[in-house]
């Protein structure tokens, strides 16, 4: 007897999702045969604001594309406009940018670990990981004054300097965070109950990951070594790090890659603090941008493109952002095929969806 198909709507308001995404799950008994995602609940029309805010103010709008990877979005926009205007920020500004970028990555990955724990029903692990995340937010607050939206970025450099005493005080904090994450790592990577929810769930082969155009940790968990930080923007060319990959290709691999990247970020921050030169942080800018530029940077969720087209006026003509979650949604639909209904929340969380970036 052929089994009957039914459609289960998932989202937009769902306990596991902090953000609205809607997926129609076409199921046969308990198996998902097809998943049809639909997005658009958070669309604001942010790119269009370039016609209403001038190119300097637009930095703060760009930071508000997303509250989690806020610093990266500000950086992407600033990087594109600085290239158009031919400004080279000072080394110190570059180092502080790199350092804050990595702190953002740490807080984003720890946040993801918490959401993941929540998705497989381990509430106390969620609380534990978010306890360590607060330490990262403290460091960001010491450095910039903000917890999630920093507004420290500015065309030509930074709005304020981060004093050396504060940078030095980061070192013991990083040790404490690493210690905390190592304790949580045991639960994520070796607890049998957790492993039964992660191992082999949502397998994506290397070939599929490439052909579906995946990005970021989701791609690296399928064994593809691609990391845009290797392009050497900001101060990344001066620090030493490797691309972390996993050959598992499943939810376990994605957990592994993100946990290792937390340690990697801590190591990059230490190197930055060690090497940071003592000089100014701001290069004055003159005139208006004229030209176009496209830049790719590595956000916590993967590569993000920023395109800016300016025509020598106060207002930029066009800004375009392409975000990693958008690139990962086709692969999500692929991994959802054939999974159990109970695994859907886990798989949705494994791509680390950032809907507000995607829809802007």
């Amino acid at each position: 007897m052929a089994s009957k198909r039914s459609v289960i709507p998932f989202g937009p308001q769902h306990p596991v999702l902090p953000e609205p995404i809607h997926i129609d799950l076409i199921t046969e008994d308990e198996k998902v045969v097809e998943a049809v995602p639909s997005i658009g609940f958070v669309h604001r029309g942010l790119e269009h604001l370039v016609t209403k805010k001038d190119f300097g103010e637009m930095v703060y709008v760009a930071e508000r594309i997303c509250g989690i990877c806020s610093f990266g979005h500000g950086y992407g926009y600033v990087n594109a406009v600085e290239h158009i205007m031919g400004i080279e920020p000072t080394q110190r500004a570059k180092y502080i940018r790199t350092l804050l970028f990595e702190l953002s990555r740490m807080h984003s990955h720890i946040l993801w670990l918490g959401l993941m724990a929540d998705a497989f029903g381990f509430e106390s692990l969620f609380m534990e990981t978010w306890k360590h995340r607060e330490r990262v937010l403290d460091m960001l607050e010491w450095a910039t004054g903000g917890r999630v939206i920093f507004s420290i970025m500015r065309l030509g450099g930074l709005r304020k300097d981060v004093p050396d005493e504060i940078l030095k005080s980061f070192l013991p904090e990083l040790d404490k965070i690493e210690e905390g994450i190592r304790a949580c790592e045991k639960a994520f990577l070796s607890d049998p109950a957790v492993l039964s929810r992660l191992k082999g769930v949502g397998y994506l082969s290397k070939e599929d990951a490439i052909s579906l155009g995946c990005e970021g940790p989701f791609l690296r968990a399928s064994g593809v070594a691609r990391d845009n930080r290797m392009r050497g923007y900001a101060a990344y060319k001066d620090v030493d790090f490797d691309i972390i990959t996993s050959d598992d290709g499943d939810s376990y691999g994605r957990c592994y890659v993100r946990i290792q990247e937390i340690y990697q970020s801590a190591s990059i921050i230490r190197q930055c603090i060690e090497k940071i030169p003592d000089e100014g942080i701001y290069v004055p800018i003159k005139g208006f941008p004229n030209g176009e530029y496209m830049t790719v940077i590595e956000q916590p969720r993967g590569g993000a493109c920023y395109y800016v087209h300016a025509s020598g006026k106060k207002f930029i003509e066009r800004m375009r952002v392409r975000t990693p979650t958008f690139a990962n949604i086709p692969a999500l639909a692929k991994t959802l095929q054939g999974c159990d209904v109970a695994d859907v929340p886990i798989l949705v969380v494994t791509i680390d969806p950032c809907i507000s970036c995607t829809e802007r």
């Binding site: 937009p12 308001q13 769902h14 306990p15 596991v16 902090p18 953000e19 609205p20 658009g40 609940f41 958070v42 669309h43 604001r44 029309g45 942010l46 269009h48 604001l49 016609t51 209403k52 703060y60 709008v61 508000r64 594309i65 997303c66 509250g67 989690i68 806020s70 946040l111 918490g114 969620f126 609380m127 978010w130 306890k131 995340r133 607060e134 937010l137 917890r147 999630v148 939206i149 950032c354 809907i355 507000s356 970036c357």
Partner: protein, 179 residues
Amino acid sequence: MKISKSPWLLHYDGSSCNGCDIEVLAATTPRFDVERFGIINTGNPRHADIFLCTGGVNSQNQDVVRQIYDQMPDPKVVLACGICACDGGIFKDCYNILGGTDTVIPVDVYVPGCAVRPEALIDGVVKALKILDEKAEKMKKGEYRSLTSDEYAEKLYGDPQEAVPEASASGDKEEKNAG
């Protein structure tokens, strides 16, 4: 202040940038810990007493916000979290933003901030608890029933047919059509 009930929260991301949403979640975690007041984050509108809405309202999600609000049982309190939920914030000029949460449902407490800090949020929730108690008292006497979203729209805009303002009201019309 005495707390007479253990109120449950429901959180929905209107069209926020995510900043306020993670701060709402952070408020439930060990550092800030709203659970010490007996407050739990729930996923089900039918169990919820306090509705935390972040971000402005856009044409796609206004029905979701209204539906969630209507599903919640009385007495209920709505918190607008963050400046975008209060009045649209930095995205006020965007073509797809209709305005704050109060364009579609009645709001009791406004908590500004970009992003809203967990301390401010807890302060807002504590204020909401007081309002919740007052509403419950009035309900016992049969003097109070909260407005449905349709009644609210009628009160605000008059004709229910035109309950919802056009998206172009806040942006500019030509651009919207072109986009």
